[in-house]
Symmetry: C2
């Protein structure tokens, strides 16, 4: 298998209900597409969720960092490339490139995944799964010219917004779905901000699951210079996820 | 053009983040797919949004009724067929069939659309558009064996829930998007209900637009026998939309 075979490429289009009021694909929808493409790519290689679940294992998303020069506009075709950069014992790094309809990169993303046993919720040694075959899929040569996910630390002591996890927030695993957090975090910011600024980079660290009925409180630090950090806590205590956003002018 | 040519068929798959905790495609996502397929079909016939917008016209969704025997499950392929049943001076009826992966119908939908002039917001005479060519696309023979949208009248005088329209609710036209209302309405119901009951039929009457920052209040009548009616009002006054839901046991 040469390097090119190790990269999955998936064609997409920015649907009308998937763009925001500026006509650009929303970050939540892009995140959804990235995770789907990760799923397609893993499934094609025998490491998909469906196969894993049969054996009582599942992938857990730990980190996601998306950095975009620009976003596809309504009706524009684009594509997502994805590949495995590294496999460690407990984590694997999966990267993404987003290409415009001419095949030029318009952004990149990095993700970090663990695999857990669904009964014990304990992490699995990736290097021993399927006879260690996951390392055959590593594609070390494809560049991903964005920074790795960084440390996120929020100082705010009072929540800016609190909400309750509802039916539409919950995924097939019974958890608030990873993309809903992105949407709830983006909804912290007034629409006037999005008229002038776009999100250049968005990082998420997923720490714990939350469930139907949980109160999700969003703690927000405005760091200045377009940098923001947000922490989501459930029921006044446990950290669920942390995000770092970098806005820039259009 | 024979009857078959007048029906557009679009293949889809139930993506992991598009199913609810029961593993079935959510009604909001299905509604999104239906509206997209309507858009593809209209575009292929010279009546798409992009073309219309150039001429300062746009389609406005007035009614939507979806009735499903069952919903596609995660990763299942399905398809949507759509066709124009009727064209009147101010409205057109567009129907849908949802087929499972073997091509068997699992549900149907009906929609009613008007076309408006984007400057005056006044309706346009459809029979005079493009030299009346829209009538060439009428497909009268394809059955759509579900009831037409009915009258919805909500008696509740106190809202059950109020929320504020945020960035993620707003579409490219600057309005709260049609599908978000569906999600907000589904979120009225506790998750325990969805463990036992599924939505057999969902009707929406879209009455007026709402905007960023509007307070949306949901008035809810439980009619008994699994029938519910919901009205969304903005800023304590004007009706935005009305919904009728029919639940049934799994």
């Amino acid at each position: 298998m040469n390097g090119q075979d190790k990269i999955g490429t998936y064609k997409l289009v920015a649907e009308p209900f998937h763009v925001d009021f500026t006509g650009h694909l929303t970050l939540g929808v892009l995140g959804n597409h990235l995770l789907n493409c990760a799923g397609f790519h893993a499934t094609e290689r025998g490491f998909g969720m469906a196969t894993l679940n049969e054996d009582n294992y599942t992938w857990v998303l730990s980190r996601l960092a998306i950095e975009m020069d620009n976003m596809p506009r309504e009706y524009e075709e684009f594509s997502v490339q994805t590949w495995v950069e590294n496999v460690y014992r407990l984590f694997t790094d999966r990267n993404f490139a987003v290409l415009d309809k001419e095949g030029r990169p318009i952004g990149y993303a990095r993700s970090v995944w663990a695999m857990i046993n669904m009964s014990t919720r304990k992490p699995v040694d990736l290097l021993s799964m399927n006879g260690g075959s996951i390392v055959d899929y590593i594609c070390p040569d494809k560049p991903c010219p964005i920074d790795k996910p960084s440390r996120i630390k929020v100082a705010a002591t009072e929540p800016e917004v609190s909400l309750t996890a509802r039916y539409s927030d919950i995924d097939i695993n019974g958890h608030v779905n990873s993309i809903r957090y992105v949407e709830h975090i983006l909804d912290l910011f007034p629409i006037d901000l999005y008229k002038v600024y776009r999100i250049r980079r968005f990082e998420m660290a997923y720490v714990a699951e939350s469930y139907y009925g949980d109160t999700l409180s969003l703690y927000h630090d405005d760091e200045g210079g377009g940098m923001h950090q947000v922490e989501v806590r459930k029921n006044g205590a446990e950290t669920v996820c942390r995000a770092k956003l970098q806005f820039e002018s259009y």
